[in-house]
Symmetry: C2
Subunit: 406 residues, 2 copies
């Protein structure tokens, strides 16, 4: 029988449309195990642990807990806080004071590092604690898992937005000719790449996709845009906020200290704006950009049902694994072979995930570095859930001209 | 009996999520009147008329015509083209060559001017032609109608996006503190104002709203932001792309000729980016922006069912009115008194709509010029259709602290 005690959960990093499903999964599964007595949530992630700012989830209305499944963002609050060495002792004090024996942390690679260090410190100190991480990042850049909850939904939003933008440009290309959509993605192109799902036919948006896995060369970009424009009279281009030049420098990182987060990551953005100025200056064509920003990660209206289900499931499995005595692991999704898409869950060591960044493999990007491969499409398609909504196109039977051209 | 002949329809200006509903309504209603023989569509608006680039809508699959109801953008293509004086004679030639006796034009104030001129020229020349305009503009700036089809859907998208952005900021305000969302709206704040629908409680987003109807004063803005930040530790601010300073100049209009559209309107944008630089420079707080751009006007996933129904209905009424012998009118929506929202349709003279811009009345804006009034909320709420999706919030019963503060 597992140790009796209380469970604590916390959310970290950028919110997503589905991360509350993981909290709901943890809460539901905790209720199934009598050895888990109290079920607490830390307010604003690890900051809530440090400040002893905890809430009692057993006193929440079950209707509210269930409602988390259709509520975007992080209901417990989140943070970006890099722990100092001295913070770990405080965490242990808080855990002991509240008899926390189960700790569940949802987040990305920074968070998995935090969870890993807490697990190790508890072992060193002989404090019995089960620590399980649940993956959460729209960036989809965690190692050891097929994909990350949050990614399917941001991909669905951006695929729909890109298809919509394509239809917009198809209609009004005589004046709004070039459209650039800037997606999130600090160091990897997973999110941007998923916009390829918008494409139905050869001439449909997106026409070009630029990812940080390949150095961005302005001359090649302008040449690509010019070619698409000459062929179609228009272009819809998706770019990652984290594009880098040949020297590996962000195209547009802010150098201002105020724009660094607590991990020292630069705040990005402005790539599309920059490219929108390059195009008229060099090609004499008008360009506009859309930057959905945080809207993309928060859209429950465009969330993936597959993503919602998986985010919930990793929460439940995290609790089951801890009760079975596992600690120092993250719940990963492992895609199974077969005619239907299915991921089983498995446990991977936090050591193998912490602070690592999984970039898109070369086989997912085309040779020219301006689009994705079919292999990537096959990878990402099931993650967005149901097929994209079907839009029609007029067949367009021409009426015979009878006048001279005007 | 109305004159036998062919009908022609065309779409103009920026596409919307629902404008194809108007085309569907026109096509469906035309099928009901034997005096309307052929039903044609002009490709890319009035440009398609000038170029005699017409398609035969009677040869379209009824399934496709029905599918227009859930397909955003302008299926016939659109344009921004200011007619030259000499173009009108060409239009008459094309109409005569194809025996066009019914002309339906969906668009905004520029388009109603075009329709008006065509109507007058036909009358001058004694060519029997019925011209009816159907309102379409997300900007909601047409005179003589309660509102414009397209506006309800862009409002719903932005209200959802702002609520989502509010939840995002609630969760991660310790690092993402100030968020600015830039909406469309060339000269009027209707779209931006509708983001107020996101607000549930006093502390919810949006906290501040800035509209071009009031001069934007940087000092007041910074003061407003500072006050919200001091109270809540965060702020979500929505701003219109068309904000103007005390001299009536756009804050950020491009002076480049390539960025002017064919009507000489400057391409706007960059307001949020500009404000995002002001905030850290003056208040030492980090600010980010979301700019959904054309995504906001194209989102069928967030379209308003009321808007969809009305866009369809104005198309049907346009045809009915023309068959009844009316010409030189636009179909307007007239809100009826009563406990339930309902707009009846009526005809207003194109003269009274053409080239006019309806700004938000003072009574729709608060005294401070940084939010909307309850009167505006009452106006806009029914236009977005169903209530916004319900999100939950944890009750948050605190666990008793037992340690000294850290």
């Amino acid at each position: 029988m597992a140790m009796k005690g209380n469970a604590l959960m916390a959310q970290s990093g950028g919110p997503t449309a589905v991360i509350n499903n993981t909290i709901c999964g943890v809460a539901h599964e905790c209720a199934m195990h009598p050895e888990i007595e109290g079920v607490y949530g830390a307010i604003n992630g690890i900051l809530g642990v440090l400040k002893e700012n905890l809430i009692d989830l057993k006193r929440e209305d079950p209707y509210i807990i269930q409602g988390l499944r259709s509520t975007p963002s992080a209901a417990l609050g989140s943070c970006r806080y890099k722990l100092k060495e001295t913070d770990y002792a405080r965490i242990m004090d808080v855990f002991k004071a509240h008899n926390i024996r189960y700790f569940f942390y949802t987040g990305g690679n920074d968070s998995m590092d935090t969870a890993n260090k807490i697990d190790k410190m508890a072992k060193e100190r002989g404090y019995e604690l089960k620590v399980i991480g649940a993956p959460k990042t729209i960036d989809n850049d965690l190692e050891m898992t097929d994909h990350c909850p949050g990614y399917g939904s941001v991909s669905r939003f951006n695929a729909i937005a890109t298809r919509d933008a394509g239809r917009d440009t198809d209609a009004i290309y005589t004046s709004d000719t070039i459209k650039i959509i800037e997606t999130m993605g600090r160091d990897t192109g997973w999110i941007t790449a998923a916009t390829a799902l918008a494409k139905e036919g050869e001439n449909d948006a997106p026409h070009l996709i630029y990812l940080p896995e390949k150095p961005f060369i302005v001359e090649n970009f302008l040449n690509d845009v010019d070619q698409v424009y000459k062929k179609l009279g228009r272009a819809v281009i998706t770019v990652c906020e984290g594009l880098k030049n040949e020297n590996g420098e962000y195209l547009t990182a802010s150098k201002s200290a105020i724009d660094m987060d607590k991990f020292g990551h630069a705040q990005l953005g402005g790539v599309a704006d920059y490219l929108c100025k390059l195009i008229p200056a060099n090609l004499k064509i008008k360009a506009r950009f859309d930057k959905p920003g945080t809207i993309q990660r928060m859209s429950m209206a465009c969330a993936s049902k597959t993503d919602i289900e998986e985010a919930y499931r990793v929460g439940r499995v995290a609790v089951k694994s801890a009760v079975e005595g596992k600690s120092g692991y993250m719940v990963a999704l492992a895609r199974q072979n077969g005619p239907e898409y299915w991921c089983k869950t498995e446990l991977v060591k936090l050591d193998e995930v912490a602070n690592k960044v999984r970039k898109m493999p070369d086989s997912f990007i085309n040779k020219e570095g301006n689009f994705v491969s079919q292999e990537f499409i096959d990878y990402v398609k099931p993650l967005i859930g149901e097929p994209l909504p079907e839009y029609v196109r007029l067949n367009g039977q021409k009426v015979q001209r009878v006048l001279a051209p005007y």
